[in-house]
Symmetry: C2
Subunit: 399 residues, 2 copies
Amino acid sequence: MRATTLAEEVSLASWTRTITPSAIEEMLLVAARPDILSFALGLPAAELFPTDTFAQAAAHVLATDPRALQYQPPFQPLQAHIVRLMAQRGVFCREEQVFLTAGAQQGINLLTHLLLDPGGQILTEELLYTGFRQTIQPFQPDIWAVSTDLETGMDVDMVEALLADSARPAFIYAVTDAHNPLCVSMSLEKRIRLAALARAYQVPIVEDDPYGFLYYESPSLPPLRAFDDERIFYIGSFSKILAPALRVGWLIVPEDLIPKLAVIKEANDLNTSTFTQRTISAYLDAGHLPGHLVALRHEYRIRRDTMLHALQTYFPPEVRWRKPATGLFIWVELPSMVDACELLQVAIAAEQVAFMPGNAFCVANHRYAAHCMRLNFSNCTPERIEEGIARLARALAGF
Amino acid sequence: MRATTLAEEVSLASWTRTITPSAIEEMLLVAARPDILSFALGLPAAELFPTDTFAQAAAHVLATDPRALQYQPPFQPLQAHIVRLMAQRGVFCREEQVFLTAGAQQGINLLTHLLLDPGGQILTEELLYTGFRQTIQPFQPDIWAVSTDLETGMDVDMVEALLADSARPAFIYAVTDAHNPLCVSMSLEKRIRLAALARAYQVPIVEDDPYGFLYYESPSLPPLRAFDDERIFYIGSFSKILAPALRVGWLIVPEDLIPKLAVIKEANDLNTSTFTQRTISAYLDAGHLPGHLVALRHEYRIRRDTMLHALQTYFPPEVRWRKPATGLFIWVELPSMVDACELLQVAIAAEQVAFMPGNAFCVANHRYAAHCMRLNFSNCTPERIEEGIARLARALAGF
């Protein structure tokens, strides 16, 4: 019991009392168990990583660039690549507005530190990405939460009502494409209105876009940043389109905020890996990304459709879901008497299959989310998806 | 002027008003200018990076480990390597106490978030590492600062007097070996006393040790962590002994704090690059590090001695310095009427040579530091060191 005593003796920052074990971290451990078939996390498919071409790029960088392993300022050629990449999403920006990060999560964290005061206010949705909740937790903010329509996204009427009623949040947090966990992409009309509200009320929007390049029907609509270049702070990442282990992402922000972000970033981790910045840039120089994205979309579409078909085949008719056009997840509504957290325990114990229960994405317990679950389709082969959904259906049937 | 207007319109977190341009960031830009001979930053020598063996390790990992580019839990074999590395410094710890970070700066940042409340109190030295100051800035803490003896390190008498006089800082920050910027390593007696004070007053010490493996006389004394395993939170890094661009470091902390640190880390950047963790581990598996450290110490000793000799040759006798036994810097005291910041401007403009002025390391202007400078000897060849010191002496002579 000595260790427990110690934690009590060392006086920690007050907010740390609110720390609860991370659902993601726990699921990362469960998912790492070889006996578990996991739909829990947003892991990309490791077998689709462009390992060979990435290895070539890494070897090239190490052989030719004597500063590849040194502290270095942000790598301008990578910033230039990102400008071109953003143009494909309908976003026009300049290199000077691109700020390199160690992934999207760091982007969220840096922007939160830039914008939010302790005890400040935030406007977001009722169901939200767990990593965002973790980032704001030390600030113990007041959270205004609006609901999310499963067809059109965030309740922008409610956003407008709150802003008109004198709410002045430090920022609005939005996942415009493939909302996590609800998998909805915001309608064009709502995008335009939300960007206009940000302008009218001078409230910044932190737009988190890890999935926008992973679309399976028509290309994703332009993100909010395409409709406003002053109030929309965009977060992008190579984690889902290239590989998470590289830890490289980016922000698109107004140029005058870059020096402040640079100071915050430096206090966090000095700088983003020079080596991975340059290796990604070399990979992009070689022109591999467009083909890789086509391959990813092709394979993930198959996996999505396999999962949709398996849900149809194995699940009872009172279970409901929608076909997501983007992203890595399907949001499933179980019958209202099913507690998804309890089902998860049974599913792991009896069928060795895991998912994220809806309540993992709520600030407080949420009646609707309590009988929902998020299923990932990117990280299992179609055969495993079929097998896993069958198992999950058995767990549900025996529940 | 549009950009300026925008920054004023967007309401930023209050603490960001205290952000000043980072001296390090500015110097990184100056040092990147090809015409400048820079002694300003703590950059290791790029030409000594083990690029070939590291490239072999990277290629091996990518060819053999299908999860090398995936999100993954901390890599246990690397934690085991770190346990063995710490034993060489006289520190005995277990894998469960090793927490992997994206470098020492992130280690400082995570521990600060774990321990410090906004407006809390910190005990440190008057002259301190700029990156630490940046980390605590958003907390706007009260800082108690004790002086540093240039032969024996931190004024531990003063630390004791403050603690006895009811000071209860959230933590004490110490760079035990090769204090940055003063280059002194703490005496054994002070190490033992300071560790005992931490125990007696139940105040944690954050021990920042980027340089302990880089000694040029006898091996460094054991760090504080060797004398207490409950109150000393140790920060290590591969940046100076392998390469900064890998962004991998570690903490040694009591085991029961690991879950809380994991949540804070996840909110910051999800996890430390799986790829670089595994590549470093493969590099260490291959047994390359001991020989590399011998080579680093050999070459850095030559550079240190070259700089000491050049100072003796070119500088007037009223300029003073000590021979550092560890680390990457020499601390130089100029005549008291010389303002080092003004000298820096002249040195860059007239002689294209740069250094860090002492005041960059102070919270407020500091009479002593104002006529001091920190010179780095690791990042220039002996020929460039000789040339740079001659130039600097000319700048001083013409000042």
